[in-house]
């Protein structure tokens, strides 16, 4: 009914809503200033060391595999729309496509990339 302009409208609506909510809260608020209040919340114990440190590489591996499969998903969209028109050829194509992908998947599995450690 509205076209692409609706994206701008909805973004503006979200921003307006959030800004009004935060400003309303600021207006009725009577805050107090104190140093301990601004410390990181770690259940009462003072925090040790830095927070922005190295973390488990496993997350990175999963992100990489995700990227491969996500691109695959994007390739599938145009295919999915024309399946009915193309017919049996589309079935053959998708089996070949998934076979190659599955080999890569098995390789990643064999290398232990899908195991959480």
């Amino acid at each position: 009914m509205m076209g692409p302009v609706s994206m701008i409208v909805l973004t503006l609506a979200a921003v307006t809503f959030s800004v009004i909510a935060i400003l309303m809260s600021k207006a009725v608020l009577k805050g107090s200033v104190n140093k301990q209040k601004l410390e990181p919340y770690e259940c009462g114990i003072p925090t040790t060391g830095k927070t922005w440190i190295q973390f488990n590489v496993g997350y990175y591996l999963f992100a990489l595999i995700f990227l491969i499969f996500d691109v695959e998903l994007v390739f599938l969209y145009p295919w999915a729309v024309v399946v009915k028109k193309v017919g049996v050829l589309a079935l053959v194509e998708i089996i070949i496509f998934f076979f190659i992908l599955f080999l890569g998947f098995l390789y990643a599995h064999k290398k232990g990339a899908l195991k959480w450690s």
């Binding site: 979200a14 809260s25 973390f55």
Partner: protein, 358 residues
Amino acid sequence: MISFSEIASSVHQWLNSHLSPAWVLTVEMVIVGVAAIALFALLGLVLVIMERKVAAYMQIRLGPNRVGPKGMLQSTADTVKLLVKEGITPAGADKFMFNLAPFIAMITAMLLLAPLGFAKDFQIWDLNIGVLYVTAVSSLSVIAILMAGWSSNNKYSLLGAMRSGAQIVSYELSAGLAIMTIVVLTGSLQLSEIVESQRNGWWIFKGHLPALIAFVIFIIAVTAETNRAPFDLAEAESELTAGFHTEYSGMKFALFFLAEYINVFTVCAIGATLFLGGWMPFHIGNWEGFNHVMDYIPSSIWFFGKTFFLIFVIMWFRWTFPRLRIDQLLDLEWKYLLPISMFNIILVTVIAIYHLHG
């Protein structure tokens, strides 16, 4: 009977006869914006009280019952309470990112409302790549979570955000493949056409086994994508206090909370549109009388009824399954759901090519 589409078109005509085209567009933009905000706030309040009531009755207790009739105004009272809470930005935090994250969460949640068909011929934007739009925009929500977790300067937040990131991107794959089965059956990415294709039966009934498998995978995947129990590792309160929004308080926390509930609503609405026929009424073969009675129920009630049924199912999960460990969670996706959904795509291709569906 008055329908939403008739109201919309009569408003459009009235505006066109009284104002110049540029003003008509402006006024309509304002109307849509205000309506979206109203829907947003209302849904937030309703879903919070629904969650608490469902939880209470599952555990054989009454739940909130003091504020308003049967406690129905409890979430409104909670919102007012959150309004007078201070929004703290911690000393070591990356202030710009920290304050930007709730806005991103809200914007992505709001943008997902655009292609939903709330009633017959009643959509904000009926774009021809609706399914692609939904998957694209919903995957942006992970950015808000990572931003919030990273910028908080808190180890709980960082861990929660990282877990949540790994989880959301993993389950996005099987959710995407489950959605793809319906695209294969319909041959269109437009949500209104997908609804139209279910006029003679919903896909979950006439799509045979693949549609059923896809529906189950879709529900599991969206439960994980919206970070809800049993996949709520990102905010596992017994280990990470509150996950990525540990440091958020006051209204900024409320915005995250609201965006989360709206995301639950949108994914359930997408599920209802793809598998349960959107605003299409329930028909049984050639039972004319029964079908006429079903047609009499407004299309918006059908849409919201199906959506809230799916929301109820997701809330039901929370009190049925214990929380998974992160390795179990990733195993479930990569070793079971993903291969099954890839196989399911091949199965559904066979059905689509030989026109075995109704």
